[in-house]
């Protein structure tokens, strides 16, 4: 409910798209349906504006987003001829989040958002990270396994002093790395 309200209130901002993405898939779905409705209702005006500003190309990568365009064009809707619905790919501007800069792209087909794609998400070290850091099922042989020769420490559930004696750690501690 909170997410839907936020989506409606700040529809114009690409940053909200980003936040919606962060919050999770349901939020994005919610945003998507809200955006789609709005875009359809103001599609005629939008078509005019996007054509005028040259952003309406199908493979466009303009700097302003569809979402930003929407509110500007809601008012003069009456003067637009109801021709084609907006189609194209629009990049939102990068916004700062506590996860680092984030940017999304929306693909719109005849006034309907068909895809929301994360374009940019970096952490403090400028290394790309996944938008969603969700833990997902993984097979044992798919887990990261560095060269065992360099491993001096073992992490496991807390062992007692007694448990230590039988632990892998005790064996490694005796080794002269």
């Amino acid at each position: 409910m909170r997410i839907r309200a936020a989506a409606a209130a700040a529809l114009a901002s690409a940053s909200v798209l980003s936040v919606g993405w962060l919050v999770g898939a349901p939020a994005v779905e919610s945003l998507r349906s809200t955006l789609t409705t709005t875009l359809s209702s103001s599609a005629s005006a939008e078509a005019t504006t996007t054509t005028a500003s040259g952003l309406g190309t199908s493979s466009g990568s303009g700097t302003s987003s569809a979402a930003t365009t929407t509110p500007e064009t809601t008012a003069p809707a009456a003067e637009a001829p109801a021709a084609t619905e907006v189609t194209g790919t629009f990049d939102g501007s990068a916004v700062q989040t506590r996860f680092g800069p984030m940017q999304v792209s929306v693909t719109i087909d005849n006034g309907t958002i068909t895809e929301v794609t994360p374009l940019q998400l970096t952490n403090d070290d400028q290394k790309s990270v996944m938008i969603s850091n969700r833990a997902a099922p993984i097979l044992r042989d798919e887990v990261l396994s560095a060269q065992s020769a360099s491993v001096a420490n073992v992490s496991g559930a807390t062992y007692t002093t007694q448990g230590y004696l039988q632990s892998l750690q005790a064996a490694l501690d005796a080794a002269q790395f």
Partner: protein, 272 residues
């Protein structure tokens, strides 16, 4: 990997780890062979100093916070002999930190026992690890690893250019490893919670059900965050897992009750 295995074994003869007993477990200290550790690893006086520094830090925290010690400051607070407001700033700061983590984890992590007593054991060990690391810095050591009962914090390199790495124990076969992960900056701390070693020491989820996880390992930027979140995810189940990975810059490897695994993207082999 930045280096081949030949570099790892390349002519460096190290020492066994330095070990200290405290808080009911064993702390393993290793000093890296980097150039920054002047005189190490052949300086026995420095090895002894490192051991003493770590032992002193752990004893200090244990004396103040252990509930196994009747005379500890926290035991006195819990018996009502000492008001919280009269307790030392270390205890109050520690309690405040634990309460902050309670809020960050929606109450899943808590410094309060069922009987109402304040129990800071959930963060005391990791705080001691962090402070022990600072003590090693104070000795001029820049490359070291500390492992206190399976919770690990590292600094610098193991050997010049080679990251410290941590193996994650397999809870189904404690002589086997699930993964071996380089502890690269910024994720230099790792903590594991589970039910295998001390019985079901984190019994259930917040709603009273058995935890879906047998073991949870969290890689974080600091040892307190890693330790608290590992505990919170065991206790909070999948909602706590997903909330933690969405909120904090961590990697998580979780072992479900049936032995199957969940991992964040950074722990996949192809992400290295």
């Amino acid at each position: 990997m930045r280096h081949s295995s030949s570099v790892v074994s390349g002519g460096y003869a190290g020492h066994p780890a330095i070990t200290v007993e405290s808080m009911g477990t064993v702390i393993s200290i290793r000093i890296g062979a980097a150039a920054g550790n002047a005189g190490f690893p052949h300086d026995e006086a420095l090895r002894a100093a490192a051991r003493q520094a770590v032992a002193d830090v752990f004893r200090g925290w244990n004396d103040r916070f252990s509930l196994y010690r009747e005379g500890s400051e926290l035991s006195r607070v819990n018996r009502g002999e000492l008001r919280l407001t009269q307790a030392g700033s270390e205890l109050r700061d520690c309690y405040a930190l634990a309460l902050a983590w309670r809020d960050r984890t929606d109450g899943v992590f808590t410094p309060h026992r069922a009987d109402g007593a304040i129990d800071l054991s959930g963060i005391v060990k990791s705080l001691a690890i962090a402070h022990a690391g600072e003590a090693l810095y104070g000795l001029g050591l820049r490359d070291w690893s500390l492992n206190a009962g399976g919770d690990i914090l590292v600094a610098g390199d193991q050997t010049p250019g080679l990251d410290w790495a941590a193996a994650i124990v397999d809870p189904l076969d404690r002589s086997a490893r699930l993964a071996s992960v380089p502890l690269r900056a910024p994720l230099r701390a790792v903590a594991t919670s589970g039910s295998a070693e001390r019985g079901e020491h984190i019994w259930t989820t917040v709603d009273g059900a058995l935890s879906p996880f047998r073991q949870v390992t969290v890689f974080g930027r600091d040892i307190v965050t890693a330790d608290v979140l590992a505990t919170a995810i065991i206790a909070g189940g999948r909602p706590a897992l997903h909330r933690s990975t969405e909120t904090f810059p961590i990697e998580v490897l979780a072992v479900l009750r049936d032995g199957s695994l969940l991992a964040t993207p950074g722990l996949r082999a192809d992400s290295a």
